[in-house]
């Protein structure tokens, strides 16, 4: 098996002002893989993504992408792009500008970069909407735009922080399938945080179960969800 694209080793974090005990994560994801993270709310799934993106500072530990440590890099220089559940787009800027900000924050783009945006919008079925404002779109379209921006940034790692949680089941499935295709085509690695076990089934061959700031299980998704051997997983899932 090829060397994993993302490796996380003993990444420790503690919330400022005491709070619950120390979190510690170990994980690796290979190129082309979408790994799902499930677990109760407050378990540390989003914290893990925030640590990788650099929004939070770890106490200790390593984050490597393609073998290079990134935990010291400034946020914007990390090979990471993230999509949140909401507030991904600035409501007062049109869609083209929202995507273009992902390439250059001062909005000075070359012709090739312009083309890149057009292609990305095209591949997500959004061409022709460049001049619209986010308020004029459906929730699904807004998340597609956020994905388009994530793609044009050409980063190795895609983090989806409940990115599709506000959408209906059919739309969620559609977008997850889209993410799978894009991740494989672009040879990225992706982490998907979700509250819906069904999302993990669609998205991932492997799924991690997170609780109390630890990864308690990392197994083939089907096995984890359908024949869970951990009592924590069983109680999280309830009777399936």
């Amino acid at each position: 098996m090829a060397k994993p694209m993302l490796e996380i080793e003993q990444l420790c974090y503690r919330f400022p002002g005491g709070g619950p005990e120390k979190m510690q994560f170990d994980l690796s994801v290979s190129a082309g893989e979408v790994l799902s993270l499930i677990g109760p709310s407050g378990s540390g799934k989003s914290t893990l993504l925030n640590l990788i993106a650099g929004f939070l500072e770890p106490e200790s530990g390593r984050i490597r992408v393609n073998g290079e440590a990134i935990e010291q890099l400034p946020i914007a220089q990390r090979p990471v792009t993230i999509v949140f559940q909401q507030h991904n787009l600035f409501p007062h800027l049109d869609l083209y500008t929202n995507v273009a900000l992902g390439i250059n924050p001062s909005l000075k783009l070359s012709l090739e970069q312009d083309q890149l945006i057009e292609d990305a919008l095209d591949s997500l079925g959004l061409s022709g909407l460049e001049k619209r404002k986010p308020g004029q779109l459906s929730g699904g379209q807004r998340q597609r735009i956020a994905l388009a921006r994530a793609l044009v940034r050409e980063r190795k790692l895609l983090l989806l922080d409940e990115a599709f949680a506000a959408l209906g089941p059919a739309l969620r499935e559609e977008l997850i399938e889209l993410v799978k295709v894009l991740v494989q085509r672009k040879k990225m690695a992706a982490l998907l945080v979700s509250h819906q076990p069904r999302d993990a089934l669609i998205a991932s061959d492997r799924t991690a179960f997170v609780q109390d700031g630890r990864i308690l299980a990392l197994q083939p998704t089907r096995q984890l969800l359908e024949k869970p051997d951990l009592v924590e997983v069983r109680s999280y899932l309830g009777s399936l």
Binding site: P16, F55, I75, A76, I82, P91, H92, K133
Partner: protein
């Protein structure tokens, strides 16, 4: 992170330097140890007693009716002119004190609709003016408490057949109890430090507050020692009230606008409630209407033709705009520093930094003015620096409003887009241009408009250091009033009011722009 403390540090210097000046009173020219006995004199006792007494009465007469009015507004979801009336209740925020005083003189003066004659000057006039300002303020502070009662609670109360008394006891009073002490203390503090109203409507030593006594001892008695002792007394009283206020920490968050608030809960209409609102509306509206009528039928043309008036107007405008720019900038940095600290989980420091913005409540303008006078009058001609001093003090007076108007919007912005901006490397100028400015220009415009209007109408430090050559419109009105030129003062007051409203409107529109989607 050092920048986080920059604005608080500047504020601290501005406040502490005068205090140091106050405390070094032993070195003042003409200081004799027995001067200190002044502090036990009957004069001081009378002034302190009157300061507290008028503040107490003003608070009671403002807040008690305000509870009834706020309740009436909350329970009457819709009726004709509701939003117009709410708008009228926002007006006193931008009406200068001297203008309100002229309006009150015009209604209750000897030629007014409800003549109180000579007895207007003294505690009666002071109370009338303080209620004019603080009743609407209290209504706007209290109304959100009712709006905070969940819709479902009203529905449940209806389902369970609550009577009016039950609703009051189980829904309204618990909600009100949270915020009421804060509102009471805030109004008390505002009345305790009120200057222009007491200066113009108070009469003689019988109705003088500490704030006015400071002014008199500097301006007329030329007695800095006495002024410093009074200033220290005023400072201690304010600190006392502020400490209690902070302990409560329950001052309701209210968005300050002169537009109407939306989203009312109750639909319990009653004729009595509408009468309550109407009476309060008339009380607040009448001085302004009367002022308008008096000014239009008076020597308006003669006043307008005076070149001196327009020179004063120009100075007033310059001071207002200067204070607005300074105040909004200071507020911007203060809030930015505070929210950066909050993001790092240092909530205590964040709150502390924000509190710095309200320092002017604790150290009132005249106390700062006295300090500046004592500290700097040996080195510079403070009367020549009057504009700089007035702009700085007015900017500090506007800062609490900037923080309340801009703060919530900035925090929300920061919460929603902080991570996104970090991950897109949007910072500095780019972030300001593409994110902060478009999303925050409305509250920025509103803050600037508020501060400008407040500063233009302020009669405080300018009274201390102003001369006939440097007079602003409020000071001009005061001078006209002092010369018993009441028709002229009334006309000038109308011009000042018009100018304030115009500047408010222009700034709010020009900076605020159109609403963003």
């Amino acid at each position: 992170m050092r920048s986080a403390y920059l604005v608080p540090a500047i504020l601290a210097v501005l406040v502490l330097a005068p205090m140091w000046g106050l405390l070094s009173l032993g070195q003042l020219p003409g200081f004799e140890p027995q001067d200190l006995q002044f502090w036990q004199s009957a004069y001081i006792r009378r002034v302190v007693f009157f300061s507290l007494w008028q503040a107490l009465l003003s608070t009671l007469f403002s807040v008690a009716p305000a509870i009834l009015v706020a309740r009436a507004f909350a329970l009457n979801g819709e009726f004709p002119f509701r939003s117009l009336l709410l708008r009228i209740f926002g007006l006193p925020l931008v009406v200068p004190s001297v203008v309100a005083v002229m309006g009150i003189v015009s209604v209750y003066g000897s030629d007014g609709w409800i003549p109180l004659g000579r007895s207007l000057y003294g505690i009666n006039g002071i109370l009338l003016a303080h209620v004019f300002f603080n009743l609407p303020l209290a209504v706007r502070l209290l109304l959100p408490l009712w709006q905070g009662i969940p819709r479902h609670h009203w529905a449940l109360a209806g389902q369970m057949g609550f009577s009016g008394w039950h609703r009051w006891r189980h829904l309204e009073w618990p909600a009100l109890r949270e915020g009421l002490p804060g509102v009471l203390l805030l109004v008390f503090m505002l009345c305790l430090t009120s200057f222009a109203v007491v200066l113009t409507l108070g009469g003689g030593p019988k109705s003088t507050t500490l704030e006015v006594a400071i002014y008199q001892s500097l301006r007329f008695d030329f007695d800095p020692v006495q002024a410093v002792i009074l200033a220290l007394l005023q400072l201690s009283l304010c600190v006392l009230v502020a400490v209690v206020l902070l302990k409560l920490q329950k001052l309701p968050e209210v968005e300050i606008t002169i537009s109407s608030a939306a989203g009312e809960s109750g639909k319990y209409r009653s004729r009595l409630n509408r009468v309550v609102i109407l009476v309060a509306g008339i009380y607040v509206g009448m001085p302004l209407v009367s002022l308008l009528i008096d000014a239009l039928s008076g020597p308006l043309a003669q006043v307008v033709a005076n070149r001196y008036l327009w020179q004063s107007a120009g100075k007033t405008l310059m001071l207002g705009l200067g204070a607005a720019v300074l105040s909004v900038m200071a507020g911007w940095f203060l809030l930015g520093a505070s929210s950066r600290l909050a993001n790092r989980g240092r909530l205590k420091q964040a709150r502390l930094i924000e509190l710095c913005g309200s320092i002017i409540y604790v150290v009132p303008p005249l106390v700062i003015g006295t300090g500046i006078f004592v500290l700097l009058s040996d080195y510079i001609d403070v009367f020549a620096w009057v504009y700089a001093i007035v702009i700085i003090v007015n900017a500090m007076m506007g800062l609490p409003f900037v923080i309340r108007t801009l703060g919530p919007a900035m925090r929300k912005n920061q919460m929603q887009y902080r991570y996104l901006c970090h991950s897109l490397a949007l910072d500095g100028w780019n972030r300001f241009r593409y994110v902060d400015w478009p999303l925050l220009r409305r509250p920025i415009g509103l803050s600037a408009a508020l501060v400008a209007a407040l500063a233009m109408g302020d009669l405080g430090v300018i009274a201390l250091f102003g001369t006939p050559e440097t007079a602003t419109l409020p000071l001009l009105i005061y001078q006209q009033l002092g010369a018993y030129l009441i028709p002229q003062a009334t006309a000038t007051a109308l011009i000042l009011l018009g100018l304030c409203l115009l500047v408010f409107w222009v700034l709010e529109r020009c900076i605020g722009g159109k609403a963003n989607a």
